[in-house]
């Protein structure tokens, strides 16, 4: 969560500035690739490396109006969702287990560290061999990325349960199972939600990178294909679409988070009585 201080004039003014900045970037891009201010040769070179903004927008427009993009987007989002859900549940279960069992934790510790330190994107080709070029291999890659984020957060969450809250629950008559359900789990899920932004982002990365490395569908596949024929406009169109969807996912996460973590103190919260 970042705290932004709005400049004088408030939110509306800020939005205008945001739009202006975006327009400036696109304008600069456009000017560099059109032979108006720069030489024709330079413009051609720039267009080869960066594409032409108008063409990029046209490609995006055609994708959405022609309907060509929807199945690819659906696949990418589906992979993201699956990777996120499976990775989170696995991370939660294993995190709770290791945090509550010192022996298991001591035993697993070096391996967890090693697996986490390993650049896991390198597993993508192996997953392609194991699970084929379909959805599963991308989900597997996403899961390996999401799992560790959730796992470490849950582990931390359980370790940081206040001993006083724990002792209080025990005095109120909670059994071991009830402690798990009423104290450890809520505390751990709070940590999971606080890592939601990162883990959803990672699930998305897993899906796209997986597609990029070998697939028959998905936005990553579209980019891969375009790259094969040096269609730089389509590559940039794909990147644009991915960026917008990543932002959309992130805003959904922000909403979900605000609903589920109402009990969390926020900075300088005042309430009218």
């Amino acid at each position: 969560m970042s705290v932004r201080t709005a400049p004088a004039g408030g939110r509306g003014r800020l939005l205008v500035y945001h739009a202006l900045l975006l327009a400036a970037v696109f304008g600069a891009w456009w000017l560099m690739t059109e032979p108006l201010l720069v030489s024709e040769e330079f413009a051609k070179k720039m267009a080869f490396f960066f594409g032409r903004p108008v063409q990029v927008v046209v490609v995006v427009w055609q994708w959405f109006s022609g309907g060509k993009i929807y199945p690819h987007l659906a696949i990418t989002l589906w992979e993201t969702l699956l990777a996120f859900a499976i990775g989170s549940v696995l991370g939660l279960v294993v995190g709770l287990w290791l945090a509550l069992s010192p022996t298991a934790s001591a035993l697993a510790d070096p391996y967890i560290k090693a697996l986490n330190a390993m650049p896991r994107v390198i597993l993508a080709p192996i997953f392609a061999v194991w699970f084929g070029l379909g959805v599963l291999s991308k989900v597997a890659l996403g899961v390996t990325l999401v799992f560790f984020i959730v796992f470490f957060n849950v582990y931390q969450g359980v370790k940081e349960v206040s001993p006083v809250v724990l002792a209080n629950a025990r005095m109120l008559g909670a059994s071991r199972r009830q402690l798990l359900r009423y104290v450890y789990l809520p505390s751990a899920t709070a940590w999971v939600f606080s890592s939601l932004h990162t883990s959803v982002g990672m699930a998305f990365v897993g899906a796209v990178v997986g597609e990029y490395l070998g697939s028959a569908k998905g936005v990553g596949y579209l980019i891969l294909q375009a790259e094969g024929v040096f269609d730089i406009n389509t590559v940039f169109a794909g990147i644009l679409v991915l960026t917008v969807f990543a932002l959309l996912l992130d805003s959904i996460v922000t909403r979900v988070e605000a609903r589920l973590l109402v009990w969390r103190p926020r900075q300088a919260e005042t309430e009218s009585m």
Binding site: V165, A167, N168, M171, L172, V262
Partner: protein, 276 residues
């Protein structure tokens, strides 16, 4: 158990608590050979200098901590694990931050399998009783320190424990809120007299609330060094009773015993800080 018809609500017999420091080299005896009993319906205050092992003693009574040696008897029977007949009010915040006020109060009933609807009705009544009607949906971070203490009080009392263990529950509150809470505690207590073991470092609070004041020595190896019956009339107002001559006399008598220990504790604290 001799002459008394009913055995004490809690009896600590010859309790010693020795902690081994992390390396296994140093040993620290927090409490040594302490015996202490609270009769049914009796309000006992335990005072001692800060850091003398008062909380250790309370944790032993609660069953949260097993003593190195000695026995804990509840109504004449040794306890096994948590003391299920006791309610515990902690010095620091003990509410579950992810539950709002009413859900915190119902927690104990939920653990016992009481149906949700029934638990909520009871919890509502208790919240009203501690003056928090209308604050059911507030989460702990939205409540003031005094309000959180009230929720803790309701959370403990809803289970109708026979023994209340209180570990400096009001020490973090400002003076005004504190005497308000003390009066409220006395009101609730006099309605159906529970046994209370109230730990504090504040002698005035101890005398104002209790039937009996037990003075502990400075640590290490804390043990009781004095016991004073408080024969002030009830019902009491904690703010007003401080002005009465009998209160002042009691305070003087107990302070004479406590002062040396406080000084000792202070010296030890200084030495510890110097060597650290």
């Amino acid at each position: 158990m001799g002459d008394a018809a009913a055995p004490p609500a809690i009896a600590l017999e010859d309790i010693t608590c020795t902690f081994v420091s992390r390396g296994g080299v140093g040993r620290y005896t927090a409490v040594a050979a302490t015996s202490l009993a609270v009769q049914p319906g009796e309000f006992v205050a335990v005072v001692g200098p800060t850091g003398c092992g008062k909380s250790t003693l309370l944790n032993v009574a609660a069953g949260l901590l097993a003593p190195s040696s000695g026995r804990v008897l509840v109504h004449g029977r040794p306890i096994d694990g948590i003391n299920a007949r006791a309610g515990y009010m902690f010095q620091t915040d003990a509410l579950m931050p992810w539950r709002n006020a009413i859900d915190n109060v119902t927690a104990g009933l939920e653990f016992r399998g009481v149906p949700r609807g029934e638990a909520r009705v009871k919890a509502q009544a208790w919240l009203d009783r501690v003056g928090l009607g209308g604050f059911e949906d507030r989460y702990p971070h939205q409540l003031s320190g005094g309000m959180r203490k009230r929720v803790s009080l309701a959370q403990m009392l809803i289970l109708d424990p026979e023994l209340l263990l209180m570990d400096e529950p009001f020490s973090a509150l400002d003076v005004q809120t504190r005497s308000l809470m003390e009066n409220e505690l006395l009101d609730l207590w006099s309605a159906n007299r529970k046994s209370v073991m109230f730990i504090t470092h504040d002698l005035e609070e101890a005398i104002a609330l209790s039937d009996r004041v037990v003075v502990l020595s400075a640590g290490p190896a804390t043990r009781p060094i004095g016991e004073f019956a408080v024969d002030l009339p009830r019902p009491r107002d904690v703010a007003e009773i401080r002005m009465t001559p009998r209160f002042v006399a009691l305070h003087e008598a107990i302070w004479r015993v406590l002062r040396d220990e406080v000084l000792k504790g202070y010296e030890q604290g200084k030495r510890k800080a110097a060597t650290a």
